[in-house]
C-alpha cells in the first residue's frame, strides 16, 4: 500500500475551554476517497477548517507527503495543493463562468504596453474543463455562474480545483442540497477525480452517497473518531446506527414496542404517539 498523502496524527482543537476535536487520526492516499461521516455538530466542519488552513490545531500534527506542515491561511493550504469546495461551490454568482474559474489566477496576453485579461482563453479552458466532468450544459464561458444549477456549480468548483493541480480535494457536503440525478453526477465527478490520482475527502451525512464512492470511511461522533473502516467492512444499517449514535434509534424502537404491548398490539397512531 502506498504511503498516505495526507496524515493527521492526534489532532485536538479547542476554542477556549470548549473542546471540539479529540485525538483525530486519519490518513488519505492518492486515488482514494475518504468519506467523513457524522451527524450535525459532530465536528466535521471544524476538521475541514483545520485541513483547509482556516484553523490551526491546538495539538497534533498534519503531514503532507511525509512532511509536517502548518498552514498559515487557506491560501497557504491551497498552495500546498489542498483545495476545499464548499456546499455553495464557493463561487461568485454574478460573475461569468470564465471569470469565476480564473479568479486570482487570470490568464493575460500582451496588448501594446498592457497585460490584458485573456477572456477568450479563460472561457475556453473553463468550458473545456467543466465539460470534461460531464457538464454539457455549460457551453458559454460568458454565462453567469448564478444561472447554473447546484450540481453544475459543484462541478465548476471541482474542475477549477483539478485544473489548478489540487492533490487533496476536500468536498464539504457537495450532494446535500442536490436532487437525485444531480447528486449522481457529482458522485461520478468524485470518481473521476479519484481516477486522476487525487486524494478526495468527501464529507457527507448521506450513507448511500458515501458507500457509492468511498474506499475508506471515518465516522465522527462528538468530535472523536468513533469508527474507521474500509469498503465492505460494514453495512449501511450499521453505519447509520453509528452516525446517529445508535442508542437514539434503539430507544425509539423500544418505546414503540412498549406502546404496542400496552395497546393490544396496535401501533401508535399519528394522534396518540407520545414518546418521552
Amino acid at each position: 500500500m502506498t504511503p498516505p498523502l495526507l496524515k493527521l496524527a492526534g489532532i485536538n482543537k479547542s476554542f477556549g475551554p470548549i473542546d471540539i476535536l479529540h485525538d483525530i487520526n486519519l490518513e488519505v492516499r492518492r486515488g482514494e476517497v475518504l468519506c467523513l461521516l457524522g451527524d450535525n455538530g459532530a465536528g466535521k466542519s471544524t476538521l475541514i477548517k483545520v485541513l483547509s488552513g482556516v484553523h490551526r490545531p491546538t495539538t497534533g500534527s498534519v503531514e503532507l507527503d511525509g512532511k509536517a506542515v502548518a498552514f498559515e491561511s487557506p491560501r497557504d493550504a491551497s498552495n500546498h495543493g489542498i483545495a476545499t469546495v464548499h456546499q455553495s461551490g464557493g463561487t461568485f454568482p454574478l460573475m461569468s463562468v470564465g471569470r469565476c474559474f480564473f479568479v486570482g489566477a487570470e490568464p493575460t496576453k500582451r496588448w501594446g504596453p498592457f497585460a490584458i485579461f485573456d477572456r477568450k482563453t479563460a472561457n475556453e479552458i473553463a468550458v473545456r474543463e467543466t465539460r470534461q466532468l460531464g457538464i454539457t450544459r455549460i457551453d458559454d464561458g460568458n454565462r453567469l455562474v448564478g444561472g447554473l444549477s447546484g450540481g453544475e456549480r459543484q462541478a465548476l468548483a471541482i474542475a477549477r480545483a483539478v485544473y489548478f493541480g489540487a492533490s487533496v480535494l476536500i468536498l464539504d457536503e457537495p450532494t446535500a442540497a442536490l436532487g437525485v440525478k444531480e447528486a449522481a453526477h457529482v458522485l461520478r465527478i468524485i470518481l473521476q477525480a479519484r481516477q486522476k490520482g487525487i486524494a478526495v475527502i468527501f464529507i457527507t451525512h448521506n450513507v448511500v452517497h458515501a458507500l457509492t464512492v468511498g474506499d475508506h470511511f471515518a465516522v465522527l461522533i462528538k468530535g472523536a473518531k468513533a469508527a474507521d473502516f474500509r469498503k465492505g467492512d460494514k453495512s449501511r444499517e450499521e453505519i447509520t446506527d453509528l452516525m446517529a449514535g445508535g442508542e437514539h434509534m434503539a430507544q425509539l424502537e423500544a418505546e414503540i414496542e412498549k406502546y404496542m404491548a400496552s395497546h393490544d398490539g396496535h401501533p401508535p397512531g399519528s394522534n396518540s404517539l407520545q414518546l418521552n
Binding site: G90, V103, G104, F117, L187, L211
Partner: protein, 363 residues
C-alpha cells in the same frame, strides 16, 4: 448490501457518460438581441433614452441646442469623474461618502496655496491631488483594519474633513472663500470652456472612462474587483490581495474627487468651503441608476456613464421646460426607483438565461 448500491451507481454513471460525449455546437459569440438585453447596463440605457426623449419634447429647441447639450454635459463630466471610481468601489462592495468633503477641501487647498500664498500653481495642483490620495488612503486603511462598514468610516471622514477644511481656512485666510488666479496653461488644461460652452472636464471624463473601463473589463484587476464585491472571503482565499486592492480603490476615488475640486477652483477662479456636498448622493444615484449592485459584485462602466448622463439630463433639462426646477428632485427620485427595479429585472434575466439549443439536445 454495499455492492448492490455500487452496481446501481455505476450503471447510472455509464448512462451519464453518453450524455457527456454528445456533441455540442460551439456557442456563437456574435452579438444577438438577446445578449444585448442581458447586458447589465440595459436598464440604464432605456432610462436615459426615456428622459432624453421627455426633455427634448418639453424642453424645446433650447434643450436640443449646442448650449443645452453643453449644460448637461458639463454637469455630467464633473459628476462622472467622481462617479466612476465611486462605482468601482461599489462594485467592490464599498461606499465612499467622503467625496463630498474631499472635493471642496482640495478646492481650498489649491486656492490657499496658489491664490492666498502665491505659490506656483503646480504646487497647488499636486497638493490638492495628494490631499485626495491621502484621505482615500486613510479611508481604505480604516475600512481594512477596523472591518467597520465603509458607510460609517467614510461618513466619519466626510465630517472630519469638512470640519478640518473650515477650521484651517479660517485660521489661514480668515475667510471661507478664497480667490485664485491660475496660469494660462493650467487654466487651458484644467478649467476652461471650449467654444465658450463646453468645459475641458468633458475630456478628462472621457479619459477616466477609458482608464476605468480598461481596468474593469480588460485587466485582471477587474476580475479581482468583481470577485471581492461578490464574496470577499472567497476572493482572499483565491489569492487576491483584498486589503491592498481596497486601499487602492479608496485612493482612486479620493484622487478623482480632488481632481474635480481642483479643476473647479481653476474654472471659477475661486474656492468655497461649502461646495461639493451634492456630490455625495448624486454620485451614488448615478452609479445605482447605472445598474451597479449596491451590495457589490456587479456593474459596468457603460452603465455608470449612462446613469451619470441620465442624472445630468434631468437636473439640467428641467430648466429648459416650463416647469418649476423644484420638480427635478421628484423626477430623480422616481427615476432612481424605476431604474433599480428595471436593473433587478434585467439581472434576473441574465441569471436565468440558459442556451436554448442544449435544452433541445438533451434527451
Amino acid at each position: 448490501m454495499t455492492s448492490k448500491v455500487l452496481d446501481q451507481s455505476t450503471k447510472a454513471i455509464s448512462q451519464t457518460d453518453q450524455e457527456a460525449i454528445a456533441p455540442v455546437t460551439p456557442q456563437s459569440s456574435a452579438p444577438s438581441l438577446g445578449a444585448l438585453i442581458r447586458r447589465p447596463e440595459m436598464g440604464s440605457f432605456i432610462g436615459m433614452i426615456a428622459v432624453f426623449a421627455f426633455f427634448s419634447v418639453f424642453g424645446g429647441s433650447n434643450f436640443m441646442s449646442l448650449g443645452g447639450a453643453a449644460s448637461w454635459l458639463n454637469v455630467a463630466s464633473e459628476l462622472g469623474i467622481v462617479a466612476l471610481p465611486v462605482g468601482l468601489l461599489m462594485i467592490a462592495g464599498y461606499l465612499d461618502l467622503s467625496v463630498g468633503s474631499v472635493l471642496p477641501a482640495s478646492s481650498m487647498t489649491i486656492a490657499i496655496l496658489a491664490g492666498h500664498f502665491h505659490l506656483p500653481i503646480i504646487v497647488g495642483i499636486l497638493a490638492s491631488l495628494g490631499f485626495g490620495l491621502a484621505i482615500g488612503f486613510i479611508n481604505g486603511v480604516l475600512v481594512v483594519r477596523t472591518k467597520l462598514p465603509s458607510f460609517v468610516v467614510t461618513l466619519a471622514t466626510l465630517f472630519a474633513v469638512a470640519g478640518l477644511t473650515l477650521g484651517l481656512s479660517v485660521i489661514l485666510t480668515g475667510s471661507t472663500s478664497v480667490a485664485l488666479r491660475s496660469a494660462p496653461a493650467a487654466k487651458l488644461l484644467l478649467g476652461d470652456y471650449i467654444g465658450g460652452k463646453f468645459q475641458v472636464s468633458i475630456f478628462w471624463w472621457i479619459a477616466v472612462m477609458a482608464g476605468v473601463g480598461f481596468l474593469l473589463n480588460f485587466s485582471r484587476y477587474g476580475n479581482w474587483i468583481l470577485a471581492m464585491g461578490g464574496d470577499s472571503i472567497s476572493a482572499r482565499n483565491a489569492g487576491i490581495p483584498t486589503d491592498r486592492l481596497t486601499i487602492a480603490l479608496f485612493m482612486a476615488s479620493g484622487m478623482c474627487a480632488a481632481f474635480v475640486g481642483m479643476s473647479q477652483a481653476i474654472l471659477y477662479n475661486s474656492a468655497q468651503v461649502a461646495a461639493g456636498q451634492s456630490f455625495i448622493f448624486n454620485s451614488i444615484i448615478a452609479v445605482v441608476i447605472g445598474g451597479v449592485l449596491l451590495t457589490g459584485g456587479y456593474g459596468s462602466v457603460v452603465g455608470i456613464v449612462l446613469g451619470t448622463l441620465t442624472f445630468s439630463i434631468v437636473s439640467q433639462g428641467i430648466f429648459y421646460t416650463g416647469f418649476d426646477a423644484n420638480w427635478a428632485s421628484l423626477i430623480i427620485g422616481v427615476l432612481l426607483l424605476l431604474a433599480v427595479l428595471m436593473n433587478n429585472t434585467f439581472r434576473t434575466m441574465a441569471l436565468t438565461y440558459a442556451p436554448r439549443k442544449n435544452a433541445k439536445a438533451r434527451p
